[in-house]
């Protein structure tokens, strides 16, 4: 193969850009692999005396990270399932039937998704103070400071984006498919559940990947709506853990990377879905 100078310059430029992009993460990784003694004596900008995974173990146990991972899991999974279910139902309604209010409804959801959270948050906080729940659902007796409350706002807020993406996707499915099922006597719910929804698998997979990342990464909702530090999901808990448990930078770096780990894994395993989801809808929640 012939080497073209233009290509070489291009590769050098792109490789350098990638390296600069990854530098902050690599720097955090490097710090996390060093001991406190080492960096204390030699500073962070030095060659490591030895590398160890100790910090990761310490961050894991000292800050009780499994507890916060579990909190996140209990919020993310129900929110994810519910938002996909509810959004796909609305998308089905507006994309397969010609109601007069279709466009208005779609606009409502799409615009809702674009609102800054701060516009919603103050009255939402008051609303959550008003709604009472039985004790078995929430220790506080209120929607405020309950995991259900967080799930609900994630579902409500993210459904804007999902309805928009799914309705666009469903419009590309031929109408004849629903017709055929209807002629065979299937009601609208069966048409939705057994015909349309299975055909939406690629879009649902892409949305699930994206929504997982966004709900996992949420900071504001949990910060405002959860008041007991113990109930915080992991992204918001990091703020409290800093200084209390993560006493040095090395430990802090290890803790940060552990928190980033699930989203990084999802990104590496499901990158195609992640990228596909963003280009599918293109407005971010």
């Amino acid at each position: 193969m012939k080497i073209r100078p233009g290509r070489v310059v291009l590769h050098v430029f792109l490789a350098t850009t990638c390296l600069v992009t990854l530098a902050p993460l690599l720097w955090a990784l490097y710090a996390s692999l060093r001991t406190y003694d080492d960096t204390n004596r030699n500073g962070y900008f030095s060659w490591a005396e030895n590398l160890t995974l100790e910090n990761f173990g310490n961050a894991w146990t000292q800050a009780d990270l499994p507890h916060y991972y579990l909190n996140t899991l209990l919020i993310t999974v129900p929110a994810l399932v519910l938002v996909l279910l509810l959004s796909s139902m609305v998308a089905y309604g507006v994309s397969r039937f010609s109601f007069k209010f279709n466009i208005a409804l779609l606009m409502l959801f799409t615009a809702g998704n674009l609102l800054p959270q701060q516009v919603v948050v103050t009255p939402l906080y008051r609303l959550y103070l008003l709604i009472e729940l039985p004790d078995w659902m929430s220790e506080s007796g209120l929607l405020l400071d309950s995991q259900l409350g967080l799930v609900l706002i994630h579902v409500a807020f993210q459904s804007g984006f999902c309805v928009f993406v799914l309705s666009n996707y469903m419009k590309t499915i031929p109408h004849e498919l629903g017709e055929a099922a209807r002629v065979d006597g299937a009601g609208v719910f069966r048409q939705y559940w057994q015909v349309i929804l299975p055909l939406c698998r690629p879009a649902l997979a892409a949305l699930a990947t994206l929504e997982f990342t966004w709900i996992y990464n949420d900071f504001l909702w949990a910060l405002v709506l959860i008041q007991t530090g113990d109930k915080m999901p992991i992204t918001s808990a990091l703020q409290n853990l800093k200084g209390t448990f993560f006493t040095d930078n090395n430990l802090m770096a290890a803790g940060s990377l552990l928190v980033a780990l699930p989203t990084l894994v999802v990104f590496f395993v499901l990158q195609r879905q992640f990228v596909g989801g963003l280009t599918l809808g293109s407005t971010k929640g």
Partner: protein, 328 residues
């Protein structure tokens, strides 16, 4: 799957009766659907549409309108609704004239917006153009550049603190100023906004690149060939042919960036709770809920100002997206 972004219009166009291939079915559809639904199906559909809409309206739109209503009140949150005192535009007047943190916060939000509109957009577009070709390691480069996108802004704040620390941080050590005259990147109110913005732009660039890359893939290669045949060089082809075709993507990028800039909160909260040079409107709103002051009306008025700024862009976007739809 990729490419749909840019061609949202096309996706809608698929059901557009004006579209050549799709004209006969939609006309039939409109007439038949409306009448032929059995009542059981009607009830099911009403529930399928109603329940999610109710959730969305109750938890997103009711609070948003609540912000507007409460912004005309003076309420410290104690007592019931009957204790709310209505004060008209007093909150707004006070915010504009007597609140020292407001103008800096608004200015920071606008700087945030301008910075995000320029730096990640130019960088993202450049990288997308460079990567939009058959290139060895192309996928690898893309993955590396997308990576920061999956991290939360809160986490970005934590990771970049390791870079910006005065004595131990990577940046000052690379610049050689760590021992002699370390710059306090996050502590100095004159520069910390820009330091944080670099970190935010780091995360935003990959997203912009992704949007443009999808847009570029949908540009018809025949257009570029025709331009080349007419003697256009690569730069002319880009500015005269490719870029105009990317108009829908530009609008998406604009809206995404505006929303991102107005929502910015996590990263400054993580760095120093949004003080000392990092005030943002979002921080001022949140301070009235979880901060020391609990002035609901006041916080709501700030939120409404945020809403008014974003509304113009939201409406532009809706208009762009649903224009085709309305005609259908």
């Amino acid at each position: 799957m990729s490419g749909v972004t840019v061609v949202q219009d096309k996706a809608f166009g698929g059901t557009d009766p004006g579209g050549a291939a799709a004209s006969p079915p939609p006309r039939r559809r409109t007439r038949r659907r409306a009448t032929a639904l059995p009542s059981g199906d009607k009830l099911v559909l009403a529930l399928m549409l109603g329940v999610p809409s109710l959730v969305h309206v109750l938890f997103v739109w009711v609070p948003s309108l609540g912000s507007v209503a409460l912004s005309f009140s003076s309420w410290d949150g104690i007592g019931g609704f009957e204790d709310i005192e209505w004060v008209g535009f007093q909150n707004y007047v006070d915010i504009f004239t007597r609140y020292p943190r407001f103008w800096p916060a608004l200015q920071h939000n606008l700087i945030w917006l301008a910075f995000l509109l320029v730096v990640p957009t130019v960088a993202g577009l450049l990288l997308a153009v460079l990567l939009d070709r058959q290139l060895r390691f192309g996928r690898l480069y893309q993955s590396a550049l997308y990576l920061p996108m999956v991290l939360s802004l809160a986490l970005v704040g934590f990771i970049w603190q390791l870079i910006y620390q005065p004595e131990q941080g990577l940046l000052n050590n690379l610049l050689g100023t760590a021992e002699t005259n370390p710059t306090n990147w996050l502590g100095d109110p004159d520069i910390n906004l820009y330091a944080v913005l670099v970190a935010a732009a780091w995360r935003h660039t990959g997203y912009i690149m992704l949007l443009y890359l999808a847009g570029l893939k949908s540009v018809d290669p025949a257009l570029k060939e025709a331009a080349a045949l007419d003697g256009a060089n690569a730069f002319q082809t880009f500015t005269r042919v490719t870029f105009p075709v990317l108009k829908p993507v530009n609008i998406v990028v604009l809206v995404v960036t505006v929303i991102e800039a107005l929502r910015a909160f996590d990263i400054v909260y993580v760095v120093n709770k949004g003080r000392n040079g990092l005030e943002l409107l979002s921080v001022l709103v949140t301070d009235n809920i979880i901060g020391e002051s609990s002035r609901i009306g006041w916080g709501s008025a700030l939120a409404v100002i945020l809403l008014l700024i974003s509304l113009g862009f939201i409406i532009t976007y809706l208009f762009q997206v649903f224009r085709k739809e309305e005609r259908a």
